[in-house]
Subunit: 257 residues, 2 copies
């Protein structure tokens, strides 16, 4: 089984904004680029303590499963540190990842209290620390702390938009367009300046990217190569440097006008 293949991959680089999610999220009308406001930010220190007291902290190694589709649903997990990948795997083995969720977000939707079964799976894509809030406790906490309830609703609405945007992208854009779109989003979230352009400072393998845009590993390789030939990106040692965001923006099936 996986035992931390690379120290680099999986750690969130310093340049990264703390809260957010990397995926095919934003469509034309999407604001909230980095994700919803973190769930706990509006709470007073006392309230925060109250919530954490009710929850059960859990530490995960890279690769460990937090919940899996078809499993019984009970409550949510609040991410304290690390990165959780939420994805769906079809019976025939094809996979689509919804998003990589960062610290400050919660996972386990679309229902928050006691639901039926999970529609998605969640695994740690880096070493993580999470707090589990079971449905029953969460419900009473939400009744007690209005700001928590509001945070939950905001988070849920955002998740709804994620599903919605993902469906729209998958339904109306070609893989190449989706890839262009994703690269722009990754640059937005993880971009660090560099001599050649903007480096995507979080390491994703071609397979990771393939799962995000709904494609095969090989096709991502081919597409990236073509982009490199056109001078849009430079790939040096499994890192992607984006040189021409303008061309990418045009490629993705532009939103403007």
């Amino acid at each position: 089984m996986l035992q931390a293949a690379s120290a680099v991959r999986g750690t969130v680089p310093p340049a990264v904004r703390p809260a957010g999610s990397s995926s095919l999220l934003l469509t034309e009308n999407q604001q909230w680029i980095g994700g919803p406001p973190p769930l706990m930010d509006k709470l007073s220190p006392r309230e925060r303590e109250l919530v954490l007291k009710q929850g059960r902290r859990k530490v995960l190694n890279r690769g460990q499963t937090l919940f899996s589709q078809g499993g019984k649903h009970d409550g949510i997990w609040l991410i304290e540190s690390g990165r959780i990948r939420v994805f769906y795997s079809s019976p025939l083995g094809r996979e689509i990842t919804l998003a990589y969720w960062h610290a400050g977000n919660f996972v386990g939707g679309p229902e928050v209290f006691e639901g039926t079964v999970h529609q998605w799976s969640g695994v740690a894509s880096s070493n993580c620390s999470v707090v589990h809030l079971p449905g029953k406790e969460l419900r009473s906490l939400a009744a007690e702390i209005p700001n928590l309830a509001i945070g939950l609703i905001e988070g849920l609405t955002f998740k709804g938009k994620c599903y919605s945007a993902l469906a729209q992208m998958l339904g109306t854009r070609s893989i190449t367009q989706r890839l262009a779109h994703l690269l722009l989003h990754l640059v937005e979230l993880y971009g660090v300046e560099d001599a050649d352009g903007r480096v995507i400072a979080a390491a994703f393998t071609h397979a990771d990217i393939a799962h995000m845009v709904g494609a095969t590993r090989q096709w991502v390789t081919i597409s990236l190569k073509r982009m490199q030939e056109k001078g849009i990106v430079v790939t040096k040692r499994s890192q992607i440097v984006v040189c021409r965001t303008d061309v990418l923006d045009e490629m993705r099936g532009h939103a403007s006008d």
Copy 2:
């Protein structure tokens, strides 16, 4: 402009269950096949009257637009009769329909009160009667009538599952699989017994179907023809008769095991 090309298309045939939605909804773990329980069913006659009083009734002809993506969002529409098609249209003109919503459901999500802008468009796919509940009025009604609030949450959760399921289907299944899946769903909702098999009693054009599965009109024609050659379906005069649900079930990338 469209002026009711056919009298048959657009009317909901008698065999149809009253509430529900036809789309690529159900995944393996999906229950609620026909949609959520209708929003108003749990209300007392008096409460129902109260709600209808606050709303503004609107009658739509087939083809008329109810709301469109990018437009300002304010409240929801309750469907009294007819069928509303909710879809997204990309800047380059490709379209994906989320669902056809029937009487008893509401449209205008994923937010219910005052939101930002619509992510989807809604047009009447038959003559419709709807009741508009603006965000402000809806909010106070929901505060006053607990059962209405619960209905809203149930409806929203269901919509979340729709987006989610649609994304999963689009991300992991081939068009052929999606088509098989859709046919099974349509039979489930609109199926009427017949000498050859089960007739899908609601008329959808090939273009309609293409938008539901995210494909081109031509490809739907070809796929249906291939299915006919294999004896899975029979198409007689723009109506589809499904003979072998078992084969379709196997084609769609089966859930069982």
